[in-house]
Symmetry: C2
Subunit: 334 residues, 2 copies
């Protein structure tokens, strides 16, 4: 079993002290250009790589940020992770992932587990916990960035793509193209806390359309969830001619249910998704959706968490990101 080379090995070989090697590899001041070069050369030759564990122990930061994610198989969340990972990797940061399956208990537990992992900060990407739950709990002063939720609390900062406004636009668009009865297929959980539902209600009310519990269907945020919700919708004869869904997966599931019942999309029923996942432009019919710039979301989140780590006392304002309506076949009126 070959021993790992340590900073002491390098120091001995280079004929300097441990601390000088540290200064060299961390680009600190108080070292001459000559010695730095000599040390870096030696580092390269010996294949020395500093241990993250020891660095975390001794230093104040671990250069690791935790990411709590609802479900990594969700294409949008996966894409945000991928982008976040890309940025983090570029600055030698580490991402420690926690997959919670949207279970609120597990999400809370994950926060503590990440803290025991000594992460510098936590990014929260899951719609499960309510804003007040997030604001309430003790996170040991570690900065938290919450994506897609407005949370106002110390050490917590938000990055939101305004789903309420986006959904309002969607519903208004559907109304504008002549739809009078619009159904809502959304995620499980309290509706008060559901930005999708809120946007829907705002649009429906402002246009004076009828709102009925018979138009709202909740299920899991998956293909199957959308499929089941749509089946349920079809059991009610409520005259729905268009639906807005919580995300594209639910929309695609719903479209399958409609197809199986011989209902053509968009002629019999129009379907509007959310997230604009890659499948949305490959389905039949192609799916209208809301485009989220996941790279931008990730970039903002990464910058924000870094800022918060560097300046723990500063309170940062909520960042709001643009979204775009992408119109495709599933809502085209012939």
């Amino acid at each position: 079993m070959r021993k790992k080379t340590t900073i002491d090995d390098v120091a001995r070989e280079a004929g300097v002290s441990r601390q000088t090697v540290s200064r060299a590899i961390n680009g600190m001041e108080g070292i001459s250009a000559g010695t730095r070069e000599r040390i870096m050369e030696m580092v390269h030759v010996m294949g020395y790589q500093p241990s993250r564990l020891a660095r975390g122990m001794a230093g104040s930061q671990t250069k690791t940020i935790g990411l709590i994610i609802g479900n990594i198989t969700n294409p949008t969340q996966a894409e945000i992770f991928q982008n976040l990972y890309k940025f983090a990797e570029g600055e030698n940061y580490n991402i420690m992932l926690r997959n919670t399956n949207y279970e609120s208990e597990l999400e809370l537990k994950s926060v503590y587990s990440l803290i025991s992992e000594n992460v510098d900060g936590i990014v929260f990407l899951s719609p499960t916990l309510t804003s007040s739950q997030l604001a309430d709990f003790e996170q040991g002063d570690r900065p938290i960035v919450v994506i897609n939720r407005s949370v106002s609390a110390k050490h917590i900062s938000s990055i939101v793509s305004d789903m309420t406004r986006a959904t309002k636009s969607v519903v208004e668009y559907l109304i504008g193209t002549g739809h009078q009865t619009i159904g809502l297929i959304t995620r499980l959980g309290s509706l008060d806390n559901n930005r999708h539902f809120c946007g829907y209600m705002q649009a429906v009310k402002s246009r004076g359309l009828s709102t009925s519990p018979d138009l709202v269907f909740q299920n899991e945020i998956t293909l199957l969830g959308g499929y089941l919700a749509a089946q349920q919708l079809l059991t009610k004869s409520n005259g729905v001619t268009a639906i807005t869904t919580y995300n594209d997966l639910m929309a695609l599931g719903a479209m399958k249910a409609f197809e199986e019942r011989g209902l053509s999309v968009p002629d019999s029923i129009a379907v509007f998704g959310y997230d604009d996942i890659p499948y949305a432009s490959y389905s039949t019919p192609t799916l209208s959706s809301i485009r989220i710039n996941s790279e931008k979301v990730a970039l903002y989140a990464f910058h924000r968490i870094k800022e918060m780590i560097a300046q723990p006392e500063v309170i940062f304002p909520e960042a709001v990101l643009d979204i775009d309506l992408v119109l495709r076949e599933s809502t085209m009126r012939s």
Copy 2:
């Protein structure tokens, strides 16, 4: 800034030594039931959580395994990760993810970065590196489990779902239903190392069908990759009536290209996917595919890596997992 409670805090409060607390929380021997209970009570009250960093420093293991993944937005890889995460979480193991975008240089770099992270073992889930590349490199004696590749080397063990055999079955099935000219849409990279291609060739040759470079198309393992490959296929008038694809994403992309050209699937051209992602049963037409039991793959990989960590000298045999043909509309002959 509230200080974290350490093992010493707990020891002082419980009136025992540090080591006794360690014995209690790690379920070690040499401690009476009474003291253990008293300590655990105190641990709970004080909300003590051992630091993974310190454990890693002091102990021989970090309880962390690295996972090198080609692309987390790929549904199958995401699902395998999710399952691996589930098993790992259950045994208080940590997964450290590396997303490589199939770039071979990044994959090699990731191995070293994971080693500097002091992981106990590495699981490799990406088709990019060849078996010999994997077998060759120095991993500092850390055990490696490679999924979907046969590698025979010390400290490296394989879990494969036999893609060669599965693809052979697919092509034989297509031939059995009357297809004479079968196209192949597969990933980029050398074909020698491509198990999909090998299975295809075995079937085609054994049945005495024509094999031509005009029947093989390579592109990225994505929806777009499949779409582009299919477009290319359509430029050649090669009489293809069925294709087998490297995965479902490519199949779905290809189906879109066929649809755009007015070719109906399966009547004009049959399409067979691979992986059986959730969306395969929601597309129009639904997609025939190969089902991989990703939970089983993850379970095997996790057990294997644990075995290898525990018994570094033992050489484990390759594990081969079953696969199933799932027949759906995209290959139904009317």
